[in-house]
Symmetry: D2
Subunit: 423 residues, 4 copies
């Protein structure tokens, strides 16, 4: 593929400087080979709805050259994956991205080396021609007819995911209430449980059901699956194929997310992640742009907890981005997000675990912090770049995207007013 | 007008029960006449953008029979005002509600007994045909050409407001940044100040400039006018015609809004209010639906502070609703909001001020609380209803709206897919 | 007892005015008798540690006449109960309030009509002579010797509770960490579980174990039992005698506490409450002083959920105050708190449940709010006063406490520098 | 001094490894000399109250060997300064650290190379023998006699500061209210202003008055100087010698502190900093332990804003730590804090300012982030160590403190139950 050659040619110019930095770093570390191997294997799913410009209720300011259909979205993820070699799968959102010709879509994805990760249902919007409205919720609705309609939609999404060899259904419900009294919390929970049980029963044997939680927005008084406790309660009642999905932005102010991650792993109920960053709410900002240390702390729990349960980092849970690109080029934004994730992962792999365990056992808090921050303050960028290089990706993905004029090319082809489906 | 007669006829059926409740209450209070007089005079402006169904970035679920143009919006406010006699003015949003025929619009409003309150500019969205984009802000923009365009828009809004006998321009800027580094805070502030100075210079002699603040959304890292301190700084630099507008939902978690209100009054810089309620952020919920005690405390500061400066409650500052009606009928929602405001106002008027002052001077905290809560726990609904009755409004406005089948009538006339402009 | 006679004599002066108010209210309501019966039965436990002046890490400003020992604390609760007839039990904190002579203590309590509610253990402070420190936690400690010591203390508290006919052990752990890395979250959780299992095994057959949660303070990075999800996870693993205790101040900003309450009731795992109010964190302010509507909403869930499970309101769960009286007389503060609880309870009892259920089923959000607020805006003070009157309590407890000069009398007897044990 | 020699001897063992890291880094950077010069000059004041173990209202767990008087506190700061060469001044808290023999104290400090930074008054606690209580506040008190007493105390603190050649009075008021209605906000503000005016009038010509703000704790409803807006309002009314002090922990959840810093610098009203870190409130944790990126962003604003006004980084504003050491050795904690500050400062100095300005002007948000994070992700520890080395400090201060057994030595001398004054 031509793009790969262009990338190699760019890499060559930067190679000497990179080698110098990488060799210095490798000389400081004892686990370079192991970290490199893990980084090379690590992949983050790209959501199909994040390839266009996002917005807020106040407006949206599109860029240009956005993908107009699923094929073009696959091409965008393909470009991203060619650049960073870590975006090797896509997470589709139904009905925004229904594959009309499944075989053709599989072939296109395959050509870019992409597979299909979890499929996502959508019962937070009404679709044209839909008989019943989700204005007052879907799986929790007081009217069983609406619940049935929403259950059917989810089962349909599973069927479409099967055709693409997906292995999980990811459910985010906006169901909730805007005002005190609007809802009976208990009945809403029980309706949700019953609806999920029907969906669960329709899961293929090797599939999982991922249950996302979120405290507020678009409902501003209560959300029916509002926190990890509620999601876990549902997952436990559903059975072994159900687990809790953590979206980093879906927490109340000051929540200790890393503790939640640790406990969900302990319970064997961590489905995976929707990565993003935020300062106020579900801001859907670039991963690592607001609080990169928190991201690192989350990865510390992941590495420790997965190792303790002998889980494979790359495949045991779902890694996904869920961000909204309001003022950045979506592909550049995604490249920055994946880079931030890999940096945090690399740093977490560098934590001196045996020493930390000793310091914890001795309640030597000062030493615990020194150990964590020694890993965090290490400049691991050469390590991440080297992993990419060995996979034939770009040493500098954002730089390559720009130097190669990829967005201009897309805009020329698709038009400056091409707008993607999604939020 | 026919509606008024229908209202009177409904009132008659409820009159005996109301009289009983009102007379009991009047017998308990010493200041009934004064409170009634103030309640009858008190008016809250209705925003033209709040007459349709609101939504979030995730979707909008319209009802039906929404007003399709400014005339129909005036009619909706007219109905509301006929019902509660407290919504006697409208606040227009330009360019959503540009009056094409000013004289006709004035006549229509006049027929319903309505006047035009502050006009609102909009530089948070791009309008079709607009030469330069507000994607990266307006009055704070790094490019002076964008700033000029935004200044011109604001001056144009003033001109349109003049034609309608408005007396204030209300400016809410979404200007801000989504990411650290995106913006130089100082230059953004100074650009904003310079832009506002140009707008200020264009104000008619008897006009005011109201500067709203908001900490986040649609920008999720920083907002250029982010809190009352920043708004006040600008207002002080601009001059005596500039003041700070408080939107109740525009605060960080746990902010003590009533203290801000007290201090702005002290400084002579409280422009007025955008009323709504919220639990998490700028949720734009019905006034008084989440934390009615906070609303009461705000009114306590208003009454005390305005009396101390001998300001006229009804006219010295701007009273306005700014809410989004996502799951309620907009007119019903506005009726509930105005009712909540008047209840809080009435309760605040009942506070035994001399006794409170003594208790405060003695640091008798228990007594201070007893005095405030004695007023708050008083059921003032008969008082508010009586004030409405004496102005020929409905004893039970929401009930009347329903009994009279007003929405059905509007839907029949406008169509079940009529959607209003606005958020 | 002389106090009761003094109270009756005060009541007589206020009786006519009270009768007038009560009769008006009774005329407006359909369920007066039922509400009165429930209010008369409802009792709130008073914590032994809340009878002295509280403070913060910055200081404490004691009043005078504080109870110096358990006998005097019992007398204080006795006075409170004589005044409001709703504080008929005490919750002891060990080791602050170890009864030296159990029989004498039981007799003193009995003389005031008091019983002993849940006993509380304390492993968040080191006691003189204690072999091992709780600096780094207790039940979660990395050192099993510390865990054993803490388990033994809890079992000892159970034994002391048994002697007083308490029926529950209430456990609040400050265990947590101040810094990332200090703690392994999973091991901390598992250590806590094992420790609790040992305590659980020592529970008498008719006892319960109440597990409190709190997100922060005194640890400022993570708390080992940090939210309701963690407490419920522990309670479920422990067994049917374990349940979750909700302290209103122990939540992150904007938490929807009423939803948690509803779900815990649904799961049969709501142990009870520590009532207080707060604006920022665990502020431990007077119940109902900051957000009385939230308190009402919580009681709405309690009434609905308990009725649905046919639980007896007065006895099925634990009702307790946990507040800190920094600037108010502790007894007056407690009287205000109990009053706020009973007002919220009475209002919740007035909610028109059948109508609400219909409105919910119809997604008539406007009507749902009208129904809730109709109950909330009702001035139920005469109802609460009448319930007290029928139990021979004071019509105006705070007023009676002052008019009778009770604090002066206590100060004269105990000294103006008497300081109570506690926070 | 012997300690310096021991430090040099430790350094020698680590020198080769350090040189290797430093030379690699210097080879990557273009501004090494400039950054080194600035780091060498940069000093952070150590508060006298932070040398003992801190605590919360729930308890305090002292270590041992804490300084028992001002002389011993000076010795502790001297040790710290010898180790990191960046703690060359002390900030005293009166009356906890009144120097009995001023000349002796100055000589002791001088021997360690220390000077005295801002002095701090204390009107949030009552001192033995104090005629009037601060239970209900000090400078804002309703009783002018209490205000006078507090003013006199502040003037006395200025006098003591003068004797030590301090140049600023730092005022933090806990004045506020716990309950709605307790306080008249406006009068509290005006009383505070008048009190501060009296103190301001007593300032020597070359002194400054630093006004700290804090939203809550120890008052939990409102604080009279609650945010930067209120502090700035006071500073502006007082005059050119008054300015606003920023304590990082004194903000509501999600506050954008760096924006406040930028605007205060713009207004010429940034007095300086109390550094610490926090997750929930005024947690007083080690600087950089929770959110090091936020610390970096604050330093980015400082460097940019001070350069733009041509202010000297080291001396133009006050740099101070204000933390509470609850579970760490206080000296180790302070060493970690100073290190975190210098790392953030060094990173901020590495930001490519001209490139950032271009990217900002082009609204190239992706590039802005890349530029900031390139500086942040740089491992500047060798640079900070080199600056220390050139000042004869320890390459690894915490390591040296431990290897040299300094705490053991202090404990042997002072006793294992020595407890410092302070919080």
């Amino acid at each position: 593929m031509q793009l790969t050659e262009k990338i190699q040619s760019l890499n060559e110019r930067q190679l000497a400087a990179h080698r110098h930095r990488f060799e210095f770093l490798a000389g400081q570390l004892s686990s370079t080979a192991d970290v490199l191997a893990k980084l090379r294997k690590f992949q983050v799913a790209i959501p199909s709805w994040a390839l266009g410009t996002g917005g807020t209720r106040f407006g949206r300011f599109s860029g240009g050259g956005e993908p107009r259909n699923l094929s073009e979205k696959i091409a965008d993820v393909g470009v991203l994956h060619a650049l960073n070699r870590s975006g090797g799968s896509m997470s589709l959102h139904i009905p925004w991205d229904v594959p009309d010709d499944v075989e053709a879509i599989r072939a296109e994805a395959g050509a870019w080396g992409l597979r299909f990760d979890a499929v996502n249902s959508n019962t937070f919007q009404d679709q044209p021609g839909q008989p019943l409205s989700y204005k007052f919720g879907s799986l929790h609705h007081v009217d069983s007819a609406v619940r049935k309609q929403a259950v059917r939609h989810n089962i349909e999404v599973i069927r479409q995911g099967e055709a693409l060899s997906s292995k999980a259904l990811s459910v985010w419900l906006s169901d909730g209430s805007n005002f005190p009294g609007q809802l009976n919390f208990r009945r809403a929970f029980q309706n949700t449980l019953e609806s999920l049980q029907e969906i669960y029963a329709a899961l293929p044997a090797d599939w999982q059901l991922w249950i996302e939680y979120k405290p507020f927005e678009p409902n501003f008084y209560a959300t029916t699956i509002g926190d990890w406790g509620q999601s876990l309660l549902l997952a436990n009642k559903l059975g072994p194929k159900a687990a809790t999905l953590v979206d980093l932005g879906h927490h109340l102010p000051n929540t200790n997310i890393e503790q939640i991650v640790s406990l969900l792993l302990m319970e064997g109920k961590l489905a995976g992640f929707h990565f993003n960053d935020s300062k106020y709410g579900d801001d859907d900002l670039t991963v690592g742009s607001i609080n990169p240390y928190q991201l690192f702390l989350i990865f510390c729990e992941l590495v420790e907890g997965m190792d303790q349960r002998q889980m494979d980092h790359a495949t045991a849970i779902g890694w996904m981005i869920d961000a909204s690109h309001n003022v950045k080029d979506p592909i550049e934004d995604l490249l920055q997000s994946v880079e931030a994730i890999k940096i945090a992962y690399a740093q977490a792999l560098l934590v001196d675990r045996p020493a930390l365990q000793v310091a914890q056992q001795e309640n030597d808090t000062v030493r615990c912090q020194e150990i964590l921050q020694a890993a965090y303050r290490t400049d691991v960028r050469p390590l991440v770049a080297e992993a990419r290089l060995r996979e034939n990706g770009a040493l500098d993905p954002v730089g390559a995207f720009r130097t190669l004029g990829i967005r201009n090319e897309l805009t020329a082809r698709r038009g400056s007013d091409a707008i993607a489906t999604g939020l």
